[in-house]
Amino acid sequence: MDEELLSMPLDELLSRAWELRKRNFPDVLHLSAPSLKRYISGRYSNTPSRFVSVSVTGGECALRCKHCGGRLLESMHQVSSPEELVRLGERLVKRGGKGVLVSGGADARGCVPLRRFAGAMRELRRMGLRVIVHSGIVGEEDVDALRRAGVEQVLLDVIGSEETAREVYHLKAEPEDYLRSMRLLREAGIRIAPHVVVGLHGGRVVGEYRALEMIAEAGAEAVVVVALSPMPGTAYEGVEPPAPEEVARVVGVARLLNPEAALSLGCARAPGDKLRIERLAVDAGVNTIAYPTEEAVEHAERRGLRPVFSELCCTLVHEDG
């Protein structure tokens, strides 16, 4: 990692990131509100069932990571067989659904068991639904199955520290396993949208910049930064989340390392810091914010950006016009 970026005053870093954004992208800020959450604001409300998240393992996850403990699966639609996934797709189409994020808990190797759902995902595509998946580490067979399923995009959390993988994910994996996964997907022609979780290691920034380096090396079309939001009922309940300025620095570095990628501030950030994180993310040159506060949208407008809302996932909205 370029030490200059890490030691540069935050104002200067954000200013460089903003200038790059102005040069490379139109003056639009995409705002994403998929149906994972009901989103109601004065400006925009989303529609239930338009773009939903599905867990293919129900509420099961072998890893029980410290920051999640399986809680994130609770708010997803849950299926346990390919047939159930197809039936869910049929219901969604009837209600005007546009797409699905297929996710789930991981097995002990950090892989989400998506392979046996490949046929069902192909069927969802045939129904006209957009299909993206949230995978863990993938191997060649997984990639081949995802390609055959016609999956449009693969989201994966990239961990840049072996210690974080072990301590937080209870996983014996190295950062290079994530780099290898991203490369395999890219080589198969599947678009990737890697996620970096700021503060994943108990609120501290540990492997985030290494993760960003690997993402830049793999060449992602979309990059998502989220921030730890300690959830009740998890091992991280009560943990101090990363400071908004730390999140902003990661966003700014992500912008500078990935000058052509669509950069998003994704779904998660600590509620108490939302506003400050979102404002700084705008300043750091993000293209998209998921579930934004109205204050952040107003801030973006003051900076000359035109807000455009969408019900798609944040990694897809820049294609939505």
């Binding site: 989103y39 004065g42 809680r71 708010s75 939302k274 109205e294 204050e295």
Partner: protein
């Protein structure tokens, strides 16, 4: 015969004490209870508090409420909403305990007021979205339950 304060409407799994108004504007599910002729407290009803999940964030952004304009943001893992003011007026008290622990609303929605407001236009209580009559309230909540089931 029960006093007004004791009367509770039950619709499905949800309870609605009939000593207050319920705001159906934008399906905001806010309740408003008059404390005296001009002062009221405002909170979230049982339907929203039970269906939205455990609230993790509540922020009140305005000291002055204008009917229909957003005055607060509330969020859970599967829900984020700006809350439109049911009436106009000046905030005279903020419930700091509920703001810092918004899950209190889930535990006791009708005892967890968010703000106390001095109404500037009490006639707004007669607006079409302010429901107090049990039958109108029941009809709205039944529609809301139907909407939820469709989702």
């Amino acid at each position: 015969m029960k006093s007004e304060a004791e009367q509770v409407l039950r619709v499905g799994d949800y309870e609605f004490p009939l000593d207050r108004y319920y705001c159906s504007y934008r399906n905001s599910h806010l309740w408003l209870r008059m404390l005296d002729d001009t002062t009221a407290e405002i909170g979230v009803d049982a339907f929203l508090s039970e269906t939205a999940g455990r609230f993790s964030y509540l922020s009140v952004g305005s000291e002055r409420l204008e009917r229909g304009r957003n005055f607060a943001t509330i969020e859970s893992a599967k829900f984020v909403s700006r809350l439109p003011a049911p009436v106009s007026g000046e905030v005279v008290e903020l419930n700091a305990e509920v703001v810092s622990n918004p899950s209190r609303i889930n535990e006791a929605p009708y005892h967890s007021w968010i703000v106390r407001v001095r109404l500037s236009s009490p006639e707004e209580l007669e607006g079409e979205h302010m429901l107090r009559d049990a039958e109108r309230l029941r009809a709205w909540i039944e529609r809301e339950i139907e909407r939820l089931e469709e989702e």
